[in-house]
């Protein structure tokens, strides 16, 4: 058989429960950014979607055996992550999109700085009781954001609580309702992605509250979902395409044997739309 892409593809495995529809906009734009850098060199991104980390590791073993990819982009690094050691044993070169694991080169997001920017926006509007509905607690960037929020809140004398969701719309709606029905409800909620925020917005409206008069909401991962919500969601916005381009740049250096610098994405910016305002 011809070796068409067997020596020119970069693998990216996305492990996620099938019910998490709507993750596509973020990852497709991320991949488009990687592709934009790789295409000029005749290289491609092989995306494989699996249900969990065991299947992800099985895919890496298969790819190494078949010599199907010559590098891997590792996403969503987590606590006690088994994947870097497996990839090292398989001698598959790795670029991590997120916080570095082992001595793999990484393209990092400024999760702490971005969280401080989100809180500063709310504090500037006068909020003093803030909640956050986070992604899964096993993810490194979830923990970084949590630590940054709690530290910054303490410095600004703000009450902050964090409850862990799982990025699904269902968890966004359920946890929002729980927070607003509880004692001392927050006057503002920060979400770790777009799906949970859009579901949270619906839940708030269903409870009979008004946004942003009764509660302010900030989403993460700006996407069409956020821009098309009513009112449109205030969002922390990362240039996802350029994040992908940086990863692509690192991959190209890695596979050609050059040294790969540690890279950082720009800090996310607050895109103010219709869901944040002063507390009542």
């Amino acid at each position: 058989m011809d070796d068409t892409w067997r020596t020119s593809a970069v693998g990216l495995v996305l492990a996620r429960p099938p019910r998490l529809l709507g993750t596509e906009p973020f990852f497709m734009e991320f991949i488009a950014g990687i592709e934009e850098r790789l295409a000029a060199h005749g290289r491609s991104v092989l995306l494989h979607v699996v249900a969990h980390h065991d299947a992800e590791i099985a895919a890496y073993r298969r790819w190494a055996r078949q010599r199907l990819v010559d590098a891997v982009v590792l996403v969503n690094p987590s606590v006690d992550d088994a994947r870097p050691a497996v990839l090292r044993d398989l001698r598959l070169p790795v670029v991590v999109a997120g916080e570095p694991t082992g001595d793999n080169p990484a393209v990092r997001r400024d999760d702490a700085g971005s969280m401080r920017a989100a809180l500063a926006h709310l504090v500037g509007l006068g909020h003093r009781r803030v909640a956050r509905i986070s992604g899964p607690d096993a993810l490194l960037h979830t923990r970084t954001r949590t630590a940054a929020l709690l530290t910054a809140a303490a410095e600004s004398a703000v009450d902050a609580v964090v409850v862990a969701g799982d990025y699904s719309a269902e968890s966004g709606a359920r946890l929002t309702t729980g927070l607003l029905d509880g004692p001392d409800p927050p006057t503002a909620i920060i979400y770790d992605n777009d799906l949970m925020a859009v579901a949270g917005l619906h839940a708030v409206t269903e409870l009979g509250h008004r946004v942003p008069r009764d509660v302010s909401l900030i989403a993460w991962d700006d996407s069409s979902l956020c821009r098309l919500a009513s009112p449109a969601l205030t969002t922390m916005s990362l240039d996802v395409h350029s994040f992908g381009e940086s990863v692509g740049e690192s991959v190209l250096r890695l596979v050609t044997g050059e040294s790969v610098p540690q890279r950082w994405c720009a800090t996310e910016t607050v895109v103010v739309r219709g869901t944040t305002g002063p507390p009542r």
Binding site: L21, E29, A32, S44, L47, H48, V49, A59, S224
Partner: protein
Amino acid sequence: MSSRSVVLDAIRAAGTISRVGLIRATGFTAPTISTLVRKLINEDLVVETGHAKSTGGKRRVLLQLNHASRYAVGVHLDHGVITYALTNLGGTVVARISRPGAGAQEPAVVVARIATEIAALIDGVGVERDRILGVGLVFPGPVNATRGMGGPPDVGLAPAMRQWNGFPLGAALEQVTALPVALDNDATAAASGEHWTGGFGTATSAAALYMGTGIGAGLVVNGSTYRGPSGNVGELGHVCVSADGPRCWCGARGCVEALAGPAAVVAAARSEPATARAVGFTPGVRRPSVVADFAAISRAARRGEPHALALLERSARHVGVAARTLANLMDLEVLVLTGPSLATAGSVYLPIVRHELRACFARGTHTVDVRLSRSAATASAIGAAALVLESELVPPGHGPRPPEQVPGRRVRLTESAG
């Protein structure tokens, strides 16, 4: 449709459904449903999955498609990029890769490369070959009578793809892959994909408005993809929105594609130095495709570049006018915006198209639900895979013309897989 196909399609459409629900949905008797469901479970196509909430009586077992039991490969063949998607039985993407496009290469050389890349995709996912139902291959042009691209000689193919006219694409790919091959145009396939994955809900008249390099539409009427007598329905890009407009490559004047399609938007951005700078177009440096250039304009608009946003909004107004024509002709209930160009610019187009349809839908007896596809970026490749799922699992027995019929080896669904 056979009664087995009717039941299978009812399960697909419902997501999860009980046997009692199936009786209601199909009109078959309880013993018939019981027999057919047992068959589908034996064939590994359907699984039992938990129970419905009890409503006083006995708890009902729910059925759903066994997503991991069968797979299909979808290929979107275009001048600049070839995109591959391997989907499971439910039409969900399991693997995806984009490779360099057909360019000016000989069709036979491109087909050989496609076969190799399909084989690598299947190996990479680790699926046994006998679970692959076939290959759907779609392209930005009509399917002709000899299972290739283009209508009568040199008619209907965009200029970049003219060397494909007369090439027996379907037969050639079947020969090198040893898999059944279904062909269609990309916009119709995108509509099939939307239908298969539930994006049209329960609408009886629905359309996908597809924007990639050009503009097209696919129609699903009464649950079937409508292809017309020659498989060339939905040439929305060549609906006239300005009688004195510019000449289109198809020969007519004022086509919406010529005025407002992605290639026209890219050309306009290049011709205005300020916009070209804001978008990051460098003279002499080309991205691999119109779609990639258009995506750069979309990103600039999202960053707040006023010139880029103005170009997209102008395009969206024209596309909205064409969409209104389609909605009026077809009495549409749902219009899904899809394709790689709407994956990046959908948040600009959606409100404008929605507004156009709300303001002007002729009789006003119902509203048209305008949505963004959940998988706009890969819609045509997913749709190509859905063509295979549809033609292998729920082949229509009457009504609209069936999709491109598949000769050669067929995967026998009555054999148990594995």
